[in-house]
């Protein structure tokens, strides 16, 4: 039973990580590429670490909850690194694709 839960969590997590990387390759401009890694990969990692936690807690002697630390850390840092990257992209005036609306909302930086 526990083996089934671990397997399903692992597969869903791996699937999310794969979706994030597919988004990274497939999307046409930088701002759309950013959506895959910041969201899908982070959730995929969280699911994978939960699976590892259940696996190590049931097979090793005693409880192992260290993996929560990594998923917490990734959940906290993913938005910040995403923010830094989109800020540097705006600073370098990267092109977004034609049909992007509201481009005049971007103000010139100093």
């Amino acid at each position: 039973m526990i083996e089934w839960i671990i397997s399903i969590l692992l597969l869903i997590g791996g699937g999310f990580i794969l979706v994030g990387s597919i988004g990274l390759v497939k999307m046409p401009d930088f701002f759309m590429r950013l959506h895959g890694p910041t969201k899908a990969t982070t959730l995929g990692m969280a699911l994978l670490l939960i699976a590892a936690m259940i696996f190590l807690s049931t097979t090793q002697i005693g409880l192992s909850v260290k993996e929560i630390l990594i998923s917490l850390f990734l959940l906290l840092t993913a938005p910040i690194s995403g923010y830094m990257m989109i800020k540097s992209a705006i600073h370098h005036k990267l092109d977004s694709i034609e049909r992007t609306t509201g481009k005049d909302n971007i103000e010139d930086d100093v």
Binding site: E3, I6, S7, L10, L11, G13, G14, G15, I17, L18, G20, S21, I22, L24, V25, F30, R33, L34, P37, T41, T42, G44, M45, L48, L49, A51, A52, F55, L56, T59, Q60, S64, K66, E67, L69, I70, F73, L74, T77, I80, S81, M84, M85, K87, S88, A89, H91, H92, L94
Partner: protein
């Protein structure tokens, strides 16, 4: 069954690492490459955790935590360099 599933997930993460490497090589701009590197280190953490699972040990956990911290700091440092031309002002 679990061994097979771990192998399948290994393959999935390997494919996503290859996709990231493709984006790192073709660019076209520097922020794109930083994004690809950022995704690559997260996927590496996933690989290390999976390896620890298949070996049945939690010794590799500390390595994963260190990679997570160093990767975040290096991403922010490179972005800061792009923004200001200087890391520490």
């Amino acid at each position: 069954m679990l061994e097979t599933v771990i192998l399948i997930v290994f393959a999935m993460i390997g494919v996503s690492l290859l996709l990231n490497l493709w984006r790192l090589l073709i660019g076209p701009s520097i922020p794109d490459r930083i994004l690809a590197l950022d995704t690559m280190y997260i996927n590496t953490i996933a690989l290390i955790i999976l390896y620890g699972m298949s070996m049945g040990t939690e010794l590799y956990f500390e390595a994963a935590l260190l990679i997570a911290m160093l990767g975040f700091v290096s991403t922010v440092a490179v972005c800061k360099y792009l923004l200001r031309g200087d890391i520490i002002e």
